[in-house]
Symmetry: none
Subunit: 246 residues, 2 copies
DNA sequence: TTCGTTTTGTTCATTTTGTTCACGGGCACT
DNA sequence: AGTGCCCGTGAACAAAATGAACAAAACGAA
């Protein structure tokens, strides 16, 4: 029911880069624009410029990369928090003091990256932010939000299920092949299904089916609902992306 | 003397509880004090009291449990962020709007728990906070910090267990999903409703609807009233904070 | 007060869940 | 090859959650 505006403009995330060294700002700009879904809407080389551009451009995200011996960078973050509540910030600084990090975290910075910048890490953070923002938009549409949704948002969608070498590390009791089958089954159906039905569909036991479905629920990939009747209600699983609204 | 006295006051984390219902505040106070390492230094039942106590007690952590239709609870969080930068906050509210959650996250709330409160979840959060604080102190001593340290802090040390589904420990006969549905129904309507109406709204039986509503009344989250007519009066339930008729 | 009416509060059969644990297949190491 | 160990699987079982049915309760009307 909520599809008021922002059909096209929302597909991009507007980024304001704040960096006192123009050369580095340029490097960062190029890098950001390579990541799909992001668009650099402005560059500022000091706090004053940054405030003006914040006012004018209303970016979704600020890459706050200004040198701070615990001063202007954090000040700017406070300014954003007070005057631009819809704007997020990723800190990129050389400040190694724990105090600065502390303040940034308490001010709700999305992430805090240390110089020298590792570009892979920046990319990963940007993609996490994109996921974060998608999730926010998705939840604005859905009428009901639960604790689990909030937990995912607060965790910054950090993908702890992927080990450092990129291979998905699975917990005990979860086999990759079976997981693939179950995932495929749940995605191929529109309506929700009980663990029992899915089990029969694939040819495994209800126990196993249930184990994998619950695992997927824990990941937040699918969601569970209840179907009431006589006796204990049936737990139905459904893929999260299924558009059920009109 | 089996146990020697606690060495220093600094080993405790001082908690200020902010909750408009004194009974629930008391329940929370007892619960917090059972967790080792925490000490409740004060209780406030409205925003004014809270500000005074923040000034006087300088708590490490605020349990911000005030009802907010996007107003006073978040206002207080902003106040804390502006005037008490060393203080953290955990939000505990019934607000199910994504906007409130968004603001809380952007204001750097440590966690956001939804009412009705699951105590195991609160405990888990408190322990995560304790770990977070220990980590902060440890890092203050060390001369240099790295990206990895920051990542751990930002993740809220959530590596302990899978969040939100460790062990909900709801009483027998209460299912989390059904509870969510009933809670959402009761919060989504302004006027009180009978158990029967709510049952039909969700698609469950009156028995079940009643069971959950009474559970919520027992928690003090909602309240019951009587509506008279012919025959036995009808029990109407309404969210406790929705009554502005005074 | 007594009766008819309407809703509550509770019990219990029913159906499904959630968990445990023996089995057996595969992998690594000898 | 042989052997031992680890781990995913599913049958069986105990526990849980629900709704139908019913007795008791609380009210207005007479």
């Amino acid at each position: 029911m909520v599809h008021p505006e922002q059909p096209a403009a929302e597909t991009f995330i507007d980024v304001l880069i704040v960096e006192d060294d123009p050369r580095i700002a340029e490097i960062n700009r190029r890098f950001i624009e390579q990541i799909t879904g992001f668009r650099v809407c402005g560059v500022a080389t000091d706090a004053e410029q940054a405030k003006l551009q914040l006012e004018r451009l209303e970016p979704h995200l600020v890459l706050l990369d200004i040198y701070l011996p615990a001063s202007s960078g954090l000040e700017l973050l406070y300014h954003i928090r007070q005057h631009h509540r819809g704007t997020d910030a990723i800190m990129i600084t050389a400040a190694r003091e724990i105090e600065a990090v502390q303040e940034a975290i308490r001010s709700g910075a999305f992430d805090y990256l240390m110089k020298p910048l590792v570009f892979d890490r920046l990319k990963e953070t940007m993609q996490r932010y994109a996921a974060f923002r998608r999730e926010l938009i998705r939840l604005s549409d859905s009428s009901s939000i639960g604790q689990h949704d909030i937990d995912r948002l607060l965790s910054r969608l950090s993908d702890s299920t992927v080990s450092s070498d990129g291979a998905p590390m699975l917990p005990k009791g979860i086999d990759k092949l079976t997981l693939d089958k179950v995932s495929q089954a749940i995605y191929s159906i529109k309506d929700g299904m009980s663990a029992d039905k899915i089990a029969k569909l694939i040819g495994i036991s209800r126990s196993t089916s249930r184990r994998y479905l619950e695992y997927l629920v824990g990941l937040g990939v699918i969601e569970a609902d209840l179907s009431y009747g006589i006796g204990r209600p049936e737990r139905v699983y459904r893929s999260r992306n299924a558009d059920d609204r009109h």
